[in-house]
Symmetry: C2
Subunit: 413 residues, 2 copies
Amino acid sequence: MDPSKRRFLKRSVVLLGASGLVTSGSKEVGAFEPPDVPPWMKSPGAGFNEYGVPSKHESKVTRTLIRSQPGTTGSGAARTPLEALDGTLTPSGLHFERSHSGVPDIDPDKHRLLIHGMVKRPLIFTIDALLRYPMVSRIHFLECSGNSQFLYQPTPPSLTAGQTHGLVSCSEWTGVPLRLLLEEAGVDPGAPWILAEGADAAAMSRSVPMAKAMDDAMLALFQNGERLRPENGYPVRLFLPGWEGNMSVKWLRRLKVVPAPIMTKDETSRYTDLQADGRSLMFTYPMEVKSVITRPSHGMTLKGAGLYQISGIAWSGGGTISRVEVTSDGGRTWTAAPLSPLVLPRALTRFRLPWRWDGSASVLKSRATDDTGAVQPERDRFIADHGNNAIFHCNAIQAWGVAANGEVKHVYA
Amino acid sequence: MDPSKRRFLKRSVVLLGASGLVTSGSKEVGAFEPPDVPPWMKSPGAGFNEYGVPSKHESKVTRTLIRSQPGTTGSGAARTPLEALDGTLTPSGLHFERSHSGVPDIDPDKHRLLIHGMVKRPLIFTIDALLRYPMVSRIHFLECSGNSQFLYQPTPPSLTAGQTHGLVSCSEWTGVPLRLLLEEAGVDPGAPWILAEGADAAAMSRSVPMAKAMDDAMLALFQNGERLRPENGYPVRLFLPGWEGNMSVKWLRRLKVVPAPIMTKDETSRYTDLQADGRSLMFTYPMEVKSVITRPSHGMTLKGAGLYQISGIAWSGGGTISRVEVTSDGGRTWTAAPLSPLVLPRALTRFRLPWRWDGSASVLKSRATDDTGAVQPERDRFIADHGNNAIFHCNAIQAWGVAANGEVKHVYA
């Protein structure tokens, strides 16, 4: 445990000690006897499962499905229930999903990946072939550029943390560095772009700058230890750390080395950012520095004044989170929140801060800074700079209002 | 990417370049045309799932159930299929499971945790109360002390890497530091032991030294981001980083501060280590430094001479993995294998090394060293030191024999 963490815990203990019992749910008992033997100790429990699933008591912890194209199946997005999670990783079953024409059922033995275009040796790979190449493992977030788009609305949306910010998730991705395959194909050193095409019915396609492809891009085959999940690109996806999620093309079937961006439908009709002046930004790849408090958050109710733990996540496509500050008075005063020790580049970072609620109306916000010096902007500032015609790349500070009755709601403040 | 990693990749590229195409599955194509459009691109794919599951094409990747008590359900162990995984984390659905009387179906709203004994203020906690305390998140392995017990056998078991070594898994655990709760209860500073009791039908119970409880012990509530899985202690388990798995009592209902170890059935009739001289070791808590090659491993077949990637995991309850060496000639020569960058204390660490197989009979082994200087022993040495009466705490080096026909089998060598 690092020294800053120790200090944090020590301070928390002092707070607890000063307050007596921290919560209404813990109570002093008069006798030394254990509680009654519960019914589940009185007969043998359930047997083994070959592949385990969550407790039935957690059945409400699911992805939220928001279908963007009525009348279709599989065209839309499903969001991670951030408010029900803790730590820095996302279980694969709850990883967000964004698909443009559903999840293809791909036979891995029949799937092929083609590398062609401006290369000396066009190559076709089977999945078995890819599995024999050198691999790397890295923990990274993935974020849809449409995450938090509801904050462009003129009034605060009545949505949970997951419903507003749940198009971000974090996994350990394992795969083959793309540069190895490009070099094997004999890529033209002067070729500046690569077209990446998916094997879904939408043939989702994006143009990727060569510099990223030769830097930290990977062909991901494993997610959180096991093979990719179908909705995250099984059997192989492109993965571009820190860049908007749609660039990490799922179900990857083709990489074509090309002299200029292809201007596919996916980079002209969508994934451009309409500004206040009517112009659009294109090719806005890295996801901005951002954070959100996941607990307490919209839809929760605090049970009376007392000590609470503020917990949230921060991330940046530009680098590593260096600082998260939290306010409980709408921004008049800010306190640095200790970061959970696993602080990795382009990964979700957990921050936590004890907070003694005095029972009066309060506004909670978090503000992240990354190691490039980028700071998450207030919503007013963000809208003033970008307008509200866009739906992508909103990294404005998220505010939760706590009413005197303990109800927590999304507010603009 | 750290410099050593870069060097590794550069060397691999050179090898690839020297060899032409690395695998039989990648082939040069004569035209620049993409492969035929596969059937799964011709109609929209599947819709969204609230909670995702692996591809049906991965249905063979499951835990291996080995029931130790015939005629019972839920008394035994299920092992992680290590040979099918990569990276450092274990998906919770494949985390190993060791239960003594099945998995209790615990209603989290009715579950209670009692802290009593040598404390000023005995306390009872609900799960909601525990969720309001300060939390920490850490990535740690968990290993059953019975892992690799088949290596005590006089002849090599015909078992896969997961079947021999799959009682180890690695997760991000999030929970409340135990010391906070003990201090709130006013623990007697001189009290040396704590009894931990589970709410399963076996009332699984162990005595825990106070020093560990006040150091890095936690009450884990979340596993890989979501609430604990039922078979891993839902709704709350004790977690003692680096120590034999049974000490991290699942379904935790009671912590009693006591003056001496309780000598429960679980620390007398089992979890003691019978030595060659007939004496037993008790209270052997930390898991030793260890490693295993997961690919290639028993049951796989190499498809002809050529370049392969050796991949495996290493871990130590004593600290952080500092070095893994690999041999392909049965131990005559050893090469340091680069470690995947996420090298954390008491966590699985991935090592990988390219290996050019010349097609002759070979013996692969890995040997781990941790930052305390502890080195994984050869099996001969381990058996000479410990005898083969025991079933626990075997950390001997694992050897895989590769026959000239490419078949890989467990060997003693």
